[in-house]
Amino acid sequence: MAFGPYFFLATLEGLVMAAVLALTALGLSLVFGVMRVVNVAHGEFFMLGAVLAWAVATSISGHPALGFLVALVISPLVVGAVALASERLVLKRVNYNPEATIVATIGILYIIQQLALTFYGPDARPVVAPFDYRIRFPWFGYSAYKLSVIAASAIVLAATWYLLSRTRIGLVMRATQFDAETATAFGIPVDRVYAGVFALGAMLAAVAAVLIVPIQQAHYLMGHDPLLLSFIVVIIGGLGSLRGTTVAALLIGLSDGIISVFFSPTLAKIIATMAVALVLVFRPQGLFGVSAR
């Protein structure tokens, strides 16, 4: 294959990756932005979403699309409930102290991994894609499902944008993000907003995971990479900024996809991680963010 088509393929792969990454990172960014805490267990909510999608999809007989669609609804709901429970039982009790939250979410990370290992097992298992159609380009055929992932991700991103900027719920969330104390004074139940945001962040990761699971198999250790990449995206994009997160996810997803096709994936990861660490050192507000208040 000539360079042009090869590059086109790498770009498509990068776009799929960016689409999933944008959703996962947006979840982390929301929690980070509104609650000012780092959720280290975010990658495990992603993993849980994928594992649950497998469980739901295999328990429903009939056309694969049916099982997939049911999984797309149930899996984020269950993950949201798990996140809500861990927020109420743990995070609330350490008063969202940043460092205590990190230690607590590391603990939650391990507990979720253990539960997945116990009930799901150590194997990687695939979910059948809802439809199996290949789009014929002149040089290669490409899975239509992968392209639909990009579309689905764009729809969820748009819906989240609408929720944040055009609805009352979004207004309350932004008020809490801006100044939790004043928000309390205006009668906003900050405590319940925190619980909701934490659950919403986890659900976004779960949606991303259900979308990816027909392409990448579900495994109990799959949460590690999405967590690191989401950190990278959130840092580059600036905290709590939806536009920054989307742009950064595109940037990271595309460059990761393209670099991994042409170079060693380990080297790509080294370069990306190092670059981001240096961004954080020398430009802590992110490349697109305004300076933190």
Partner: protein, 326 residues
Amino acid sequence: MTGFGNFTGRVVALHIAVVALLFALQFALPAYHHGIMARIMVLAVFAMGYNLLFGYTGLLSLGHAMFFSAGLYGAGLTVYHLDWSVPAAFAAGLASGLVLSTAVGFLALRTTGVAFLIVTMMFGQVAYLFTLYFGDWTRGEEGLTLSQAARQLGPLDLTDPTTRYFTALALFTVVLFVTLALVRAPFGRVLIAIRENEERTRMLGYDTFRNKLGATISSGVICAASGAAYVLLFGYFGSSFAAVQYSILPLLWVLVGGAATTLGPLLGTVLMFYLVDLSNDLLNSRFPDWDVSYLGIVGVALVLLILFFPKGLLGSVRDRWVRWLP
């Protein structure tokens, strides 16, 4: 500071008693626990290094596996590929830790709070990926084993269990008293002041950046010493020691034992090592198809600790009963 002066005798006596107890255990322990204790003492050195930065200076790092593995690879690779002697390799391990912690300190200490944590985690991740990337020399996840012939310290054979135990104890003792001296010296008091209120410490005229850099470097070198001793005593090194799990373990050990206590790291390492070991056996024999690994136990321990025992065992003991505990 005068308040502490009165108790110097008691404090030193307590530490000597702990070392004497470990010395006596060498003769009392059955073979299996003897081997585990040697390992625990080396890993407790790692925890003590971590404690210097996390407990005393208040800087939460999630990348300390890189300092441990700097020592591990610094010593391991020079023995394996260059046939260096044990003392030279140990020095190479310390030097790697010194260089790495100086570089990381200069960069990471420009950030504070959550950013510091993420930056150290990313540097740790880069170090881990490097051990994979240079797989031709390191053999990546599979790792390398040092031969018995390469692990001779003069007339001493480091593969012999008794020699190994005493070497580990010697390293542990040195580091224990070095940290005790460090945290009671003016340098240590400044670190604690930085933890309590960095702005105020700076206003009092202390160069907080330089002191934090000093803490990072001391912490890094101690962790590297632990890594170098680990590979020389137990003869195996691989990428898994550089993974994020080995950055979280010292945090857990320090939290269990009590952050900012000199003996907490040892206590925490002993307790967690045996807790994971025993509960693994117990749960796996009773519920064989649960696949219980260290994951669940470490996870539950972390959550319970942070909820109910945020100061750790010795931290709570100090708060309630023994105020002079260092």
